[in-house]
């Protein structure tokens, strides 16, 4: 885990003081709501339907138990005793009082956390692979690179008023667990022929109303050039990205309109110039950061044996536990998708439990995933059974990772002022329809994602099954789409046809899964069958 030094701490503390001053000026009427808006927005504070919503950054989704406990404390002290983990690996609170936010931020700063740039048209929290440092298939731990980019992008003066928000993801495996190519900049760390680490840059991916898969603009950026290259990518965007239409302002539109080759040419030219300015950090800085991400002190003689005689435990292990790079250890996923619950929500008591379990069983580390679950990355296999029992007691042992009820759903009309339709009740109804674990396991890996409007915070374009809430003459209506993926087999889902009402969409999902069960060959997943047989049989079942 990264630890702040005096510089990191002084920057975060100064920001708390600055925000306190800005809130005071707002409350005193010295600045208007219009002038205050971009200030609070760059600090993660949104005015929502009912109250202020505050989003707290969890850089690359990694935190320790002390930080996790602080998140529980904030839920208790400033909110209604729960928090909502988001698809950006962050947490947000829905019921915050403006005058209390400076104190809340001071509490966060005391455990090296902040809400800096969690909203607004700036570079947002950097996301990464939730299994970083534990995955067997990574070429390196991507988090030091993500931390370097976090520092570089924090209060970057040139890129604080971009045409639109800007999201980075950094991964280091062939398997993409972070939807890397659906980010404004996706970085995959690779080794070149000389064995050196470098960054493969994909620019211009994104969801929203015009989803796009980011094309590769450079197959290898050396560590020493990382910051300069990122500066070049951003400067071309800041100067030439569209500002006339908010829906065409993301970098994906610029890359698309210029064409990948022309955008790349401009970036390379800018990079050549920026490289002369000596802006990259010294080599020793990435090395310094890397020392914070060393392997924990594994028991190298730990046994791989696992007693699976308890059938409920066996189901949980089969579904939620993943291979660790160290023998004798495993990656344990905690699902925040209990049947009938709100995807991604956790109470302060549950957050405390997860913090305590991380401390006891996972070298004090937790991760937040973009699928809105929590990971204990380094659990000794011999501890798994006790861990599972404790999770079960806290209602945290739902064995549904990557199954249909492990869905992503945005807050939708229950909270969000931009929504056209509710997402949460639809998610709950679908989960109830498929509540039987056996039925879910029969369907296998099936990523279902729901957004309450075209902004696509619920990643519906990347769902094997995607659902989009729209407003049809004042009535909530749901469009169904099939065949998307945010993983290494990245693709965008296609709409099946006319939309459905709330109950109709639940039936439609079930019909689509029935088509899959009938058509599938061998061990095909839902999305594989869809890709092979195409839309026709699904359409037939849905609309006849």
């Amino acid at each position: 885990m990264y630890k702040y030094d005096q510089y990191d701490q002084s920057i975060v503390d100064a920001r708390v003081a600055e925000f306190r001053d800005q809130v005071e000026r707002r409350l005193a009427g010295e600045i208007t709501e219009d002038q205050f808006k971009p200030l609070r927005l760059q600090n993660g504070l949104y005015l929502q339907l009912h109250a202020y919503m505050l989003r707290v950054a969890i850089p690359y989704g990694t935190l320790n138990s002390e930080q996790m406990k602080m998140l529980a404390h904030i839920a208790r002290k400033y909110d209604r005793d729960y928090g909502h983990f988001t698809t950006r690996q962050n947490i947000q609170y829905n019921w915050i009082q403006l005058d209390q936010t400076p104190d809340l931020l001071a509490d966060l700063a005391s455990v090296e956390m902040h809400a800096i740039q969690t909203s607004g048209n700036c570079i947002r929290n950097i996301s990464s692979d939730q299994y970083a440092g534990a995955a067997a298939d990574e070429v390196t731990d991507p988090r030091p690179w993500a931390e370097l980019l976090r520092q570089w992008s924090t209060f970057h003066p040139e890129f604080a008023h971009l045409p639109r928000k800007f999201k980075f993801a950094v991964i280091a495996s062939e398997e993409d667990r972070a939807a890397m190519r659906l980010h404004d900049i996706g970085i995959q760390l690779v080794r070149n022929d000389a064995g050196e680490l470098g960054a493969r840059f994909f620019v211009g991916g994104g969801m929203g109303r015009t989803p796009m898969i980011g094309p590769m603009v450079r197959d290898f950026v050396a560590a020493d050039d990382l910051v300069s290259y990122a500066e070049a990518c951003l400067r071309v965007y800041n100067r030439y990205g569209r500002r006339d239409n908010k829906y065409k302002a993301r970098i994906k539109i610029l890359v698309h309109e210029l064409g990948k080759d022309e955008y790349t040419r401009q970036v390379e030219e800018e990079f050549k110039h920026i490289k002369t300015l000596n802006l990259d950090p010294p080599k020793a800085e990435l090395e310094r950061i890397t020392t914070f991400f060393q392997d924990p002190d594994y028991d190298k003689s730990a046994s791989d044996d696992l007693d699976l005689s308890d059938p409920d435990f066996a189901i949980w292990v089969d579904q939620n536990v993943k291979t660790h790079k160290q023998s004798g250890y495993a990656i344990a996923n905690i699902s925040l998708k209990p049947i009938g619950g709100i995807p991604g929500d956790a109470t302060s008591a549950q957050i405390d439990v997860m913090a305590d379990l991380a401390k006891e069983y996972s070298f004090d580390e937790l991760r937040v995933t973009h699928a809105q679950n929590i990971v204990l990355p380094h659990v000794k296999k011999s501890d798994l059974y006790t861990l599972w029992q404790k999770l079960d007691e806290a209602g945290l042992a739902t064995p549904n990772l990557d199954l249909i009820s492990d869905m992503i759903a945005c807050p939708g009309l229950d909270y969000c002022s931009l929504a056209n339709a509710r997402s949460i009740p639809v998610a709950q109804k679908i989960a109830q329809r498929f509540s039987d674990v056996g039925k879910q396991k029969e369907l296998g890996e099936l990523k279902l994602k729901i957004s309450g409007c075209i902004n696509a915070c619920g990643h519906h374009h990347a769902g094997h099954i995607g659902i989009l809430g729209v407003d049809r003459k004042g009535v909530e209506n749901y469009q169904l789409s099939l065949g998307g993926s945010g993983a290494e087999d990245v693709s965008l889902a296609k709409i099946t046809g006319p939309g459905f009402d709330e109950d109709g969409i639940v039936d439609a999902v079930e019909k689509a899964t029935n088509v899959y069960l009938k058509e599938r060959e061998g061990d095909e997943r839902f999305v594989d069958t869809y890709r092979r047989v195409g839309m026709a049989p699904f359409k037939e079942a849905l609309y006849d």
Binding site: D5, Y7, D8, S10, I11, A14, R15, A17, E18, Q22, Q35, P38, L39, N121, Q151, W152, T154, F155, H156, P157, E158, F159, A160, H161, L162, V227, R235, N238, R239, R243, H273, L277, N278, L279, P281, P282, A284, E285, R288
Partner: protein, 142 residues
């Protein structure tokens, strides 16, 4: 004319700036105004005959002027660089870090508040054109 708030030692240029087009034509002007969306690099061949560049901010949310300012400073321009328009207290620090050293805000700024804003952070994460040494150099004694 609005009050000019300057961080420079010399006094603000009083000549009214001309457009880039006019400047690049047959003009003796030494002050130029860059409208939002215009390419600051057009001025690079003639930086030695410019005493003041004014960059417009029609809305503080439009950040193109920050890149324009850096482009000029990175090319060695050391004359007055003025931000004009929707220039607000809370953007001054970023503007200063991108090379602006004078401000013509539509609504006047208070000197003591500007001073406080500029002093608020004493560490920065990234190098720009303001000469501040980023923490990743300080950490390694550079």
């Amino acid at each position: 004319m609005t009050d000019i708030f300057s961080l420079r030692d010399d006094s603000p240029v009083s000549e009214a700036p001309v457009s880039i087009e006019e400047f690049l034509g047959n003009s003796n002007a030494t002050a130029v105004r860059i409208e939002v969306g215009e390419d600051a690099r057009q001025l690079l061949p003639n930086l030695d005959r410019i005493a003041m560049v004014e960059i417009s901010f029609p809305a503080f949310t439009d950040g193109r002027g920050y890149s324009a300012a850096r482009v000029l400073r990175e090319a060695g321009y050391d004359g007055e660089l003025r931000a004009q328009g929707d220039v607000l207290l809370d953007q001054i620090r970023y503007m200063h870090r991108c090379g602006f050293d004078s401000f013509a805000p539509e609504k006047p700024l208070k000197a003591d508040q500007v001073d406080a804003v500029l002093k608020r952070f004493d560490a920065v994460y990234q190098g720009t054109v303001d000469g501040q040494n980023p923490v990743w150099n300080l950490r390694h004694g550079n």
